[in-house]
């Protein structure tokens, strides 16, 4: 096996020195997370794929300007979120509207993993954007409440509320009394 650093900080440091293999390791490690965020944001596979590419190109171009004080995941979340929002502001892409009815899990949908993912992702898309944003930062990118608060420029208490609200909404959309059966 290659003697290569595996933690984000070490890979990032190597990538900043021009080690493309280290950058590729970061890409392979985090692409799924970026893709999930973009897919939940746009509700469209192609838009999510394009966003992933844009995110990584931006990250690559900004390697030299990343000061290393924040975690890589915090930076990646910020770039991903901004890329999605910029794309909408520029009129390049538009999130597909969600009908909350479609987000309600069908009976039996939670039985297997694939169906579970489909149901959970549909419910994610039905969340209020600000709740989904905070929940994504915490649950997908692994940020702390304080990091989300700093990134989104909102109080920590607001982050907690949004994340909790997201969880309650998801539980309702997934019809949690049934889920508990």
């Amino acid at each position: 096996m290659p003697d290569r650093p595996t933690d984000d900080a070490a890979l990032l440091a190597a990538a900043r020195e021009g080690d493309l293999a280290a950058f590729e390791a970061l890409v392979r490690e985090h692409t799924r997370t970026v893709f999930a965020h973009a897919l939940r944001f746009f509700g469209d596979q192609t838009a999510a794929e394009d966003t992933v590419q844009e995110v990584w190109i931006k990250v690559y171009r900004s390697l030299g300007s990343f000061d290393g004080r924040a975690k890589f995941s915090t930076w990646l979340y910020r770039v991903t979120r901004n890329t999605c929002l910029d794309s909408v502001r520029a009129g390049a892409r538009r999130p597909i509207p969600v009908d909350p009815i479609d987000a309600i899990a069908a009976p039996g949908d939670l039985a297997d993993e694939v169906a579970l993912t489909v149901s959970v992702e549909a419910a994610m898309r039905a969340l209020a954007p600000e709740d989904r944003d905070a929940f994504s930062a915490v649950a997908l990118f692994g940020l702390t409440y304080a990091e989300v608060a700093e990134t989104l420029q909102i109080p920590v208490g607001t982050v907690k509320s949004r994340v909790f609200r997201a969880r309650r909404s998801l539980a309702h959309l997934l019809d949690f009394p049934k889920a508990g059966v």
Partner: protein
């Protein structure tokens, strides 16, 4: 404790920010006894366990393909900048200015300006313009386009400089002054030759051959190819030619002299070769080697179109059509430094190994923008 508070406490605990132990225990106790809260906790567990949506299997490959294009664009840009500096430095000395032939000077300034406008494509320069590359869709990106425009501009500059030199030579012939055109024409020839290369990053280090004796500054890598083996310039050698045997000849300018046939010398049992430059210095070149799974491999290449060009795939090895090396190559594993090693899809590593473009400067391939092919050292 009320349901809302219990669920909020559980939610915070999931995120690693549990309140005090007593509050958490009270919330847990509530959730054991309350049917709604039991269901809520089970729903949270389901959400936690749900696998993330799976991106297409080739998405990361496409991302890296786009990043590599970015790297190539950067390298082309760096090379163009280095060359434009070289041309600009030479231009004021030309008598073309004195006889009113100055358009190429303006062009160099424009080229510098163009290059600067693209400079923010390098790491460290934040850009906000997205350049999506969807599957099956290959939109040219501004950085790449600009780099190629830079190369095209360089050709125009080079042609202009050749014209100026021609006038200069005629002028010098008339005036009886010694001509310096030989030195400068060699630079232009190399520049024109390497401008058609996919990319030519600046040299990893400056070499005596490229900085002394009045030779032109070399902006590209300092390789020669002799008998399909690539050698890199080490520097002037103090060895005596008398102790060496002639191994054959190669045609090269060595970056500063005429592109002409030169003797390649060597000593028995030593891997390096030696070539004399126009200043009479004996230059030492060593083969490029890399080790993989305990075996040493040497870099092989087709003949270079000009000194300063990067080694490329030797004849007989088909250029891959995909970033993942297919269909020519299949990945084997990575070497200790993490560089992916490929083999011929139809063969084994005992025949040779390949390395994808744009490794780091510290790698034996030294940032070569081409696929490189390595065979076991004799």
């Amino acid at each position: 404790m009320e349901c809302y508070d219990a669920q909020a406490t559980i939610s915070e605990a999931l995120d690693g920010t549990a309140p005090d132990a007593a509050t958490l225990e009270a919330a847990k106790q509530h959730c054991r006894d309350c049917a709604d809260c039991v269901a809520f906790v089970r729903a949270l567990d389901l959400i936690q366990r749900a696998p993330l949506p799976e991106p297409p299997a080739d998405l990361a490959d496409r991302v890296m393909e786009a990043v590599r294009l970015e790297v190539v664009a950067e390298q082309a840009l760096a090379a163009e900048q280095a060359r434009s500096v070289s041309v600009a430095a030479a231009a004021p000395e030309t008598p073309g200015q004195a006889i009113g032939v100055t358009p190429e000077i303006a062009s160099v300034a424009e080229l510098d300006s163009t290059a600067s406008s693209v400079a923010n494509s390098r790491p460290g320069a934040e850009k906000t313009t997205p350049f999506p590359l969807s599957r099956g869709q290959s939109r040219p990106r501004p950085a790449v386009l600009a780099a190629w425009m830079g190369a095209a501009a360089l050709l125009v500059v080079s042609a202009g400089t050749v014209g100026v030199m021609g006038i200069r030579v005629m002028s010098q012939e008339r005036s009886g002054l010694p001509s310096q055109a030989d030195v400068n024409v060699a630079t232009v020839q190399r520049d024109a030759g390497s401008a058609v290369q996919p990319a030519a990053p600046p040299p990893a280090e400056s070499t005596p051959a490229s900085s002394g004796g009045g030779a032109s500054v070399s902006a590209g890598p300092n390789y020669i190819v002799f008998k399909q083996t690539a050698y890199r310039l080490v520097g002037p050698s103090s060895s005596s030619k008398g102790q060496m045997a002639s191994l054959g000849t190669i045609t090269t300018s060595l970056g500063g002299g005429d592109s002409r046939s030169r003797n390649v010398l060597g000593t028995t049992g030593a891997p390096g070769v030696y070539v004399e430059n126009d200043q009479g210095e004996l230059l030492e070149f060593q083969p490029l080697e890399r080790t993989f799974e305990g075996r040493t491999y040497r870099l092989r290449s087709a003949d270079l179109p000009a000194f300063g060009a990067w080694p490329a795939m030797p004849s007989g090895i088909t250029q891959p059509t995909s970033a993942d090396g297919s269909p020519t190559f299949s990945v084997v594993s990575a070497d200790p430094s993490g560089v992916k090693i490929y083999r011929l899809t139809s063969s084994t590593v005992s025949e040779g190994i390949a390395v994808a473009p744009s490794t780091s400067a510290s790698d034996a391939a030294g940032g070569n923008p081409n696929w490189t092919w390595w065979t076991p050292a004799p």
